[in-house]
């Protein structure tokens, strides 16, 4: 392995069943900003689901979620609504 592909390229090789109708992650922008959870999420998520816009707004690319729950464990109370995708949707590991 000479060079790892970018996270986006890496995730593109994974299998996902995307749920177009339901987003399973929601950020409370005000609490995320006030508590610093926003910046923390951007850094700790291995799938880089979270991004920060120049104005500090946290974006969520829920389609990339690997469903580990790290964000949910680390977010300040009220800053994040996170649950598993609906049955059958989301990441489908082929190796695991």
């Amino acid at each position: 392995m000479t060079r790892l592909p970018s996270i986006t390229e890496r995730l593109a090789r994974n299998t996902y069943h995307l749920d177009d109708d339901e987003n399973h992650i929601e950020v409370n922008q005000e609490i995320a900003r006030r508590t610093g959870t926003g910046k923390l999420l951007v850094r700790i998520c291995p799938a880089q689901v979270y991004g920060e816009a120049p104005d500090g707004t946290i974006s969520v690319n829920y389609a990339a979620c690997l469903e580990c729950g790290t964000c949910n464990a680390m977010a300040a109370p009220g800053a994040l609504m996170w649950h598993y995708p609906r049955g059958g949707f989301g990441i489908a590991y082929r190796e695991g």
């Binding site: 790892l4 994974n14 790290t70 049955g87």
Partner: protein, 432 residues
């Protein structure tokens, strides 16, 4: 109490714990449904990859021969990794293959096999369904709700993993302190079988498991791992969440830097990335398991209950999951026979655990997590070892010294003191 049930037992989650429990219950003649949110069992499951498999022989006779496991681990390497050096303890022993002690697994391959075994035993496997909530009558758990559907049973088993929303909903587990948790970030990299055999000095279906400490995590508490599969390797880092927060680093960057480390990169050179994944894991199992394990009509097993042990050298979860599933099945069978699904009726679960290696090992390693909190483990000790060996092997034309003064000079040059060494050595002896 209502006896109008759809099944005797509902098991939530087709991981090792849930499948072992469901299998044993069905084999004892009970009506069991196993509900799994993934489209197929295994699609949501990810483990580092080493399964201490002896316990599974009791559930699935001939497990190692019949199950789609990868390699039999006969070589264990503990690697103290520094920025530009490493020191390895390399232990190979043919006795580890006879009987087989540990195997590497890829869960997306193993779990569908185990689910098929469950079906053969009479379990109704129901994939693609997410359980949203428990059904209750007063204090008693009487079933589950999934979307608009309700299913009722005498006993519900929560085997829904480390994030267990069910255990939280039942009020058994509060939000876990983040120092009890760690995130594992892992890549599976394809390599030809012959390359794996040559590069890792293994033959046939034998394999090697590396545990790395030190620079692999850029001094975040945790470690690195590398396991050989049949024609791929699984490798990555495990980062304790409180220290990941404190150190200000990105989990993906730490993973990438580990794979690029000069001691690691040659091991995966030329390989092709098959899959990148992550999973939350438990750093302090003994502390987590201290909570209740049952509620009336509800039993909590596997990761959902906190059954994981990190002893510094071995990281165990799947074997404890299996044993907890077996203990729960025994206790639930007794409860079904007695028709008593109260806390009292299910108390056989804790008793069964305490009788098994699970209860004993959780006690033995109760102090290990506290020992592994010591920050010196993740920085100074690897450096110190490298200094000692540098003093031995680097002949710079100065007069040689005996081993003890060489080691003393290395300690003196480090940020460690003799009192650190004695204190940590004593703590290690007591904890590990």
């Amino acid at each position: 109490m209502s006896t109008d049930v759809d099944f005797d037992v509902i098991v939530i989650g087709a991981g090792i714990a849930g499948m072992v429990c469901a299998h044993q219950l069905a084999r004892a003649g009970h009506e069991v449904v196993l509900i799994e949110r993934g489209q197929e069992p295994g699609t949501k499951n990810l483990s580092g990859g080493v399964l201490y498999c002896r316990v599974l022989e009791a559930v699935f006779p001939g497990f190692v021969e019949r199950a789609p496991v990868e390699r039999r681990i006969t070589r264990n390497v503990l690697s103290f990794l520094n920025d530009t050096s490493h020191l390895n303890v390399d232990y190979w022993d043919s006795r580890l293959a006879e009987p087989v002690n540990a195997v590497t697994v890829l869960r997306a391959k193993l779990d569908p096999w185990m689910a098929a075994e469950c079906e053969q035993a009479g379990v109704m496997v129901m994939p693609g369904v997410r359980v949203d909530a428990l059904l209750r009558e007063g204090d008693q758990v009487v079933g589950v709700r999934a979307g608009d559907d309700e299913l009722r049973a005498h006993v519900v088993v929560a085997a829904d993993g480390v994030n267990s929303f069910i255990a939280q909903e039942a009020g058994v587990r509060p939000k876990e302190p983040i120092k009890h948790l760690a995130v594992g970030v892992k890549s599976v990299i394809a390599l030809p079988r012959t390359t794996i055999e040559d590069r890792f000095r293994v033959s046939g279906d034998e394999g090697v498991a590396y545990a790395f400490v030190g620079d692999c995590t850029q001094s975040i508490a945790g470690g690195g791992f590398l396991y050989t599969n049949l024609d791929s390797v699984s490798l990555g880092v495990v980062l304790r969440l409180d220290d990941l927060e404190a150190k200000g680093l990105s989990s993906a960057d730490v993973h990438d830097r580990f794979l690029a480390h000069p001691a690691v990169e040659p091991l995966i050179r030329g390989g092709e990335l098959l899959e990148y994944g992550c999973h939350l894991t438990i750093e302090d199992g003994p502390a987590m398991v201290a909570h209740d394990l049952t509620r009336p009509g509800l039993v909590i097993i596997g990761d959902a209950a906190g059954f994981t042990l990190n002893t510094g050298l071995t990281i165990r979860g799947m074997d404890l999951a299996a044993a907890s599933g077996m203990a729960a099945a025994t206790a639930i069978t007794a409860a079904l026979k007695a028709g008593d699904f109260s806390d009292d009726g299910l108390s056989g679960y804790r008793a069964e655990l305490d009788r098994s290696f699970v209860g004993a090992d959780l006690k033995t390693y109760a102090k290990a997590p506290a020992f592994l909190e010591n920050p010196r483990m993740y920085s100074e000790y690897g450096q110190l070892l490298a200094e000692v060996f540098h003093g031995i092997y680097a002949h710079d034309l100065t007069p040689r010294k005996h081993l003890v003064p060489t080691a003393m000079a290395a300690v003196k040059a480090s940020r460690l003191t003799l009192s650190h060494l004695m204190r940590d050595g004593w703590a290690a002896a007591r904890a590990l």
